[in-house]
C-alpha cells in the first residue's frame, strides 16, 4: 500500500533517516521500533508529508507522493497521531473532533456566512462523523467533556478518533501507549485490532515491546536512521542484530 525507496532525511549534516526501503501492506499492522533517536518519528513525519525528504521516494498505492504537502497526503488517505496528542485542551472532545472531517467538505467563506444548503449538510456530516468515530473508539460518553478534564488514556483514544474522522485508509500511530498503564495499554491494543478488523491499514511506533509483539504482523527495526531488520515478530525476536543493537542482549526485554 505504501512504499518508500531509499528514503533519506538529513538535518544540516545529521542524517536522521538513512536510505530506508520500507513497505506497508494493505490490511496489516506494521510496527516500527528502535531506540530513542533512531529516526522513527522523523520517518513518520516524512511519510505524512510534514517534512520533505532529502532524497528517496514515497509511493502510496503506486502513486508518487514524495513531495506532496501534508494536507494533500491526508486527503489521499493517510491519517496520523502525534506523540503528544496536540488536542485543543480547552474545547470539548466533540468540538475537537468535528474538524476531523473538514477535509471531506468543500464549503468556503461565503457559504458559511449565508449557511447555504450544502454548508448545512456538510456541517451535519461532520458532526455525525465525529459521533461515529467517538463511538468506534468507545468514548461516546466523553463528547461534551473539555479535553483538559479527561484522562491521558482517553485523550489518546480521542486523538485516534480524530485521525479516523478523516476517513483514512492508512493510520500512523506515534507511540499511542506512551504514558498509560498496563491495563489501559491492553485496552488500546484491542482498539487497534478493531481498527484492523474494520479494514484499516495501520503503522505504529511503539516502545512497549509486548504490545507490539502481540499486535504487529510485521516489524521494522530502525537504529540511527538505518533499517537494521524487518520481519514477523517471531523473526525479529530471534534476530541477532536486533538483540544486540536494541534489546541489549536479552530477547523480549521491555524497552520501557
Amino acid at each position: 500500500m505504501l512504499k518508500t525507496e531509499k528514503l533519506t532525511k538529513s538535518f544540516g549534516g545529521n542524517i536522521a533517516v538513512n536510505a530506508v526501503d520500507f513497505q506497508i501492506n494493505q490490511g496489516e499492522i506494521t510496527a516500527i521500533i528502535g531506540p530513542n533517536g533512531a529516526g522513527k518519528t522523523t520517518f513518520f513525519n516524512l511519510i505524512s508529508g510534514l517534512h520533505r525528504p532529502t532524497s528517496g521516494k514515497i509511493f502510496l498505492e503506486g502513486e508518487d507522493v514524495t513531495n506532496k504537502p501534508s494536507y494533500e497526503i491526508a486527503k489521499m488517505g493517510i491519517a496520523r497521531t502525534f506523540q503528544t496528542t496536540k488536542l485543543f485542551a480547552e474545547a470539548t472532545v466533540m468540538d475537537n473532533l468535528i474538524i476531523g472531517h473538514r477535509l471531506r467538505t468543500k464549503s468556503g467563506f461565503w457559504s458559511a456566512v449565508i449557511r447555504s444548503k450544502r454548508y448545512r449538510k456538510e456541517e451535519s456530516e461532520c458532526r455525525e462523523k465525529a459521533l461515529q468515530v467517538l463511538e468506534f473508539v468507545g468514548a461516546s460518553e466523553l463528547a461534551n467533556r473539555p479535553v483538559a478534564s479527561i484522562s491521558q488514556e482517553e485523550q489518546k483514544r480521542v486523538a485516534i478518533a480524530l485521525a479516523l474522522a478523516t476517513d483514512p485508509k492508512l493510520v500512523l500511530l506515534d507511540e499511542p501507549a506512551a504514558g498509560i498503564n498496563a491495563d489501559e495499554t491492553s485496552g488500546l491494543a484491542e482498539l487497534i485490532k478493531k481498527m484492523k478488523q474494520a479494514g484499516l491499514t495501520i503503522c505504529i511506533i511503539e516502545h512497549k515491546m509486548q504490545m507490539i509483539m502481540n499486535l504487529a504482523d510485521r516489524i521494522m527495526v530502525l537504529n540511527q536512521g538505518t533499517k537494521i531488520a524487518e520481519g514477523t515478530p517471531a523473526e525479529i525476536s530471534r534476530n541477532e542484530t536486533v538483540i544486540e543493537a536494541y534489546l541489549g542482549g536479552t530477547p523480549h526485554a521491555q524497552a520501557h
Binding site: S48, L50, P69, S70, Y71, E72, A74, K75, A79, R80, F82, K86, L87, F88, E90, A91, T92, M94, D95, I98, I99, G100, R102, L103, T105, S107, G108, F109, A112, V113, I114, R115, Y119, E122, E123, C126, R127, L131, S140, E141, A143, N144, P146, L162, A165, T166
Partner: protein, 343 residues
C-alpha cells in the same frame, strides 16, 4: 442566537437600543463617541479574526485602517468618485494588499509573523506620511466630500450614525457566522496546532490567508468609514500606536470572543473620554493595564464571563439522550472555550 450573551433577547434588545439612541438624544458629543466606538470595533474585530481565532498576532492593522481611510479619502477628494464606489475600492484594495502581504508573511511562524506585520504597519504609515504628492503628507488630506448614496447626503451626525451602525451590525453578523462555522473551527484548529491541522488535511496556509484577508478587509472598511465620517485625514491614523490601542481594546474585551471587540472598545474608549483631562496619563494607566490583563485576565472580560458561565453549566448533569441538545451544547462550549490566546 447561541452566542454570548446567551439569552435570546439580549442581542435584539441591544440592537433596538442602538437604533433608538439618536431618537432619544441629539447630543452630538455622545453620538460622535458612539460612532468612533463602532468604527474601531469593526477594525478590532478584524484584528480578532487573525489574532484571536487564527492565532497569528498582526500588528499591521492600523496600517490597513489607514490604507482604507486614505483610499476612500483620495478617491473621493481627488478623483471625485462616489462614496459607494470609493468604499468598495477601499475595501477591495485592503483585501488585495492583505492577500499579498499574507502570502508572504503567513509562512512565518509565531514571533516572526508579529514582527513582520509590525514592520508592514510601519511601512504603510511611512508611505502615507512621505508620499506627499499623493497624500499631502503631514499637512493632512482635506476636502473629502460629504458621503452620498443616491441623492441622500450623510451630512448629519445622526445619518452617519445609522450608516456606520449598519456596517457594524453587518461585520459582527458575518464574524458570528464565520466563527460558529466549519470555517471558524478551521481557524481555531490552526491556532491550536498547525501541525495537527495540516495532518487533518487542512490547507493551513490557505486558511490563514483567508483569515488575514477577512481581517484586513474589516480594518480597511473601518478606515474608509472613518474617512467618510471625519472628512479629513492625517498620517497618524495609520500610526503604530493605533495598532497597540486596538490590541488593548481587544484584550480588555476578550480576545477570540465574538463580543470582546465591542465590549473592549466601548469600555476603553469611554474611559479614555472620562480621563480626557488626564490625556497625558492615558498610556501611563493603560500600559500597566495591558500587563495586568495578560497576567490576571488573559481572556478579557467576555472570556472571563464565558468561563464563569461554563463552570456553572458543567455542574449541571449532562443529558446525552437528546442528540440535538448535545450538538447545541457542543457549539456553545467550543465558542465559550475560545478565550484561549496562544502563539
Amino acid at each position: 442566537m447561541r452566542s454570548f450573551p446567551a439569552s435570546k433577547w439580549v442581542v435584539p434588545a441591544l440592537l433596538l437600543v442602538a437604533l433608538a439612541i439618536p431618537l432619544l438624544t441629539d447630543n452630538s458629543y455622545y453620538l460622535n463617541m458612539l460612532i468612533m466606538i463602532f468604527i474601531w470595533t469593526i477594525a478590532v474585530s478584524g484584528m480578532n479574526m487573525i489574532a484571536g481565532y487564527a492565532g497569528q498576532l498582526s500588528l499591521a492593522h492600523a496600517g490597513f485602517f489607514g490604507m482604507g481611510a486614505y483610499t476612500l479619502g483620495l478617491l473621493m477628494a481627488k478623483a471625485q468618485m462616489s462614496f459607494l464606489v470609493s468604499l468598495v475600492m477601499a475595501v477591495a484594495l485592503t483585501g488585495i494588499v492583505g492577500a499579498v502581504v499574507g502570502m508572504i508573511s503567513l509562512r512565518l511562524k509565531g514571533h516572526y509573523f508579529a514582527i513582520f506585520s509590525l514592520c508592514m504597519g510601519v511601512i504603510i504609515s511611512l508611505v502615507i506620511e512621505k508620499w506627499e504628492s499623493l497624500t499631502e503628507g503631514v499637512r493632512g488630506l482635506l476636502g473629502i466630500p460629504i458621503p452620498k448614496i443616491g441623492s441622500f447626503e450623510f451630512s448629519t451626525v445622526t445619518s452617519q450614525y445609522y450608516l456606520i451602525l449598519f456596517f457594524l451590525v453587518l461585520a459582527m453578523f458575518v464574524n458570528r457566522q464565520i466563527v460558529q462555522s466549519l470555517v471558524g473551527r478551521t481557524f481555531i484548529s490552526i491556532r491550536n496546532s498547525e501541525e495537527l491541522a495540516e495532518a487533518l488535511g487542512i490547507n493551513v496556509m490557505q486558511s490563514k490567508i483567508l483569515a488575514f484577508v477577512h481581517s484586513t478587509v474589516l480594518a480597511g472598511l473601518a478606515g474608509a468609514l472613518y474617512a467618510g465620517y471625519l472628512r479629513f485625514l492625517g498620517p497618524e491614523v495609520a500610526s503604530i500606536e493605533h495598532a497597540f490601542e486596538m490590541l488593548l481594546y481587544l484584550l480588555v474585551g476578550g480576545i477570540s470572543t465574538l463580543w470582546g471587540p465591542l465590549v473592549g472598545t466601548a469600555l476603553v474608549m469611554a474611559m479614555m473620554q472620562l480621563l480626557q483631562s488626564w490625556q497625558d496619563y492615558r498610556m501611563i494607566i493603560f500600559g500597566p493595564i495591558l500587563v495586568l490583563i495578560v497576567m490576571f485576565l488573559p481572556h478579557g472580560i467576555m472570556g472571563a464571563l464565558a468561563r464563569l458561565k461554563m463552570k456553572r453549566q458543567s455542574v449541571l448533569p449532562e443529558t446525552i439522550d437528546n442528540e440535538n441538545r448535545v450538538i447545541e451544547k457542543g457549539t456553545t462550549d467550543r465558542r465559550l472555550a475560545g478565550g484561549e490566546i496562544d502563539a
